[in-house]
Symmetry: C2
Subunit: 235 residues, 2 copies
């Protein structure tokens, strides 16, 4: 396999820690903050799939709107049955607080060193994300990554979320390279699988010691942090 000429990163879960909202979630919902975070994330991903598949994408909504909808669902699901009028009145406030936190997710600590090492080798870098352009812009600036990324690609351009092939095709179009010459990096196993199926070289960053998807196709490599990206460029 040829050494990749560019590296594209998934954003949410890979560069930015989607569970870094957990502390605030725990303050708002004592004892249920972690469950809320997981439910929110799962529902967010589910919504990207529902709007992509149904009626060929006719029900597309930007990632910010789907993230908010997923949070509203998650709070309703974990709310105790027969919640009081007061509890319902605080609902919108909780959504607003958590969405504001989501806008400023923590970046994983090793990110910038890895991006700098890639730039030093002359490798093109970028993000290929379900996030909409405004969300991605804020997240990249908050993390101080502006100068380290050649491409910030949002699936919003095609109104189809990953793992739709039109979403993955954006990486080839932005870099001018074929997928086989690009390394795609994701901590989300479904995303690493979809990118592998599409034709990318892939690194699955298995941050939480999970099994890989059992669908018969492994990623090119599996690592434990973004630092494992550099293994693709060693002699």
């Amino acid at each position: 396999m040829e050494k990749p000429q560019a590296v594209l990163f998934d954003a949410y879960g890979t560069l930015f820690d989607v569970y870094s909202v957990g502390l605030l979630a725990e303050q708002l919902f004592p004892g249920r903050g972690q469950a809320l975070g997981v439910l929110w994330r799962d529902k967010q991903i589910e919504y990207t799939r529902l709007v992509t598949t149904s009626n060929h994408g006719a029900h597309y909504q930007p990632f910010w709107a789907l993230t908010r909808a997923a949070l509203a669902y998650a709070i309703k699901k974990i709310a105790p049955p027969g919640a009081s009028a007061q509890a319902i009145a605080t609902f919108n406030g909780q959504v607003d607080q958590l969405m504001n936190q989501y806008r400023h997710l923590s970046a994983f600590p090793e990110n910038k060193a890895v991006l700098k090492a890639l730039k030093a080798r002359g490798i093109a870098t970028g993000i290929l994300s379900n996030g909409d352009p405004e969300m991605l812009g804020i997240a990249v600036r908050s993390a101080g990554m502006e100068g380290l990324l050649d491409h910030v690609i949002s699936v919003d351009a095609v109104h189809k979320y990953k793992t739709h092939p039109e979403a993955y095709a954006l990486g080839e179009q932005a870099t001018g390279l074929e997928a086989a010459n690009i390394l795609f990096v994701s901590s989300n196993s479904w995303d690493a699988l979809g990118a592998t199926w599409y034709g990318y070289q892939t690194l699955w960053v298995n941050r939480y010691q999970l099994p890989f998807e059992e669908l018969g196709t492994p990623p090119t490599r599996t690592g434990a942090s973004l630092r494992d990206v550099l293994s693709f460029f060693e002699a």
Copy 2:
């Protein structure tokens, strides 16, 4: 809205209780049977979406294969870290036992009375399911429903799972009716949503007191059991 001329039912979760594997799961994995059942079901649905969306369905596998893959994933995920060689050796046996149970899921108790009431009114009835034809045939026979269903429709005919429009179109093709004149019934809120978007009249059977999907479109009606189907035919 016109009274529907046919009623199509989702199968898994709607006619057949996907959580009826719970007792065996609890025997095999004490204290974690329920968690395994939920994880299995969620992963099964996730896999239908991944293979439908990725590369336009090129990675399609029948529902039985995806159900088995989802179970393998779920067992690996709940297995204690550093499982012993013996634990790994029993793994395939556990998968086989649970898959055999899945083949003979319990039917919800009100099903047959509702189907009989529809037949008595001359309404066409059927199943429109992600299940593959063999699974559906066994489940329908086990439940004694053969004479009560005019159509048993599997998405396997198009190699696209719900909520893909080609899957929902099969209901129109089998009945010769437009979706607007068909009632589609599902306990799965994502399926009730997808069918509503497609154009069916819909009943969401909310068996577990869950919130509906927060994507801006409600089902035509919400009920608590299959008996609520009959409300569509009252004067």
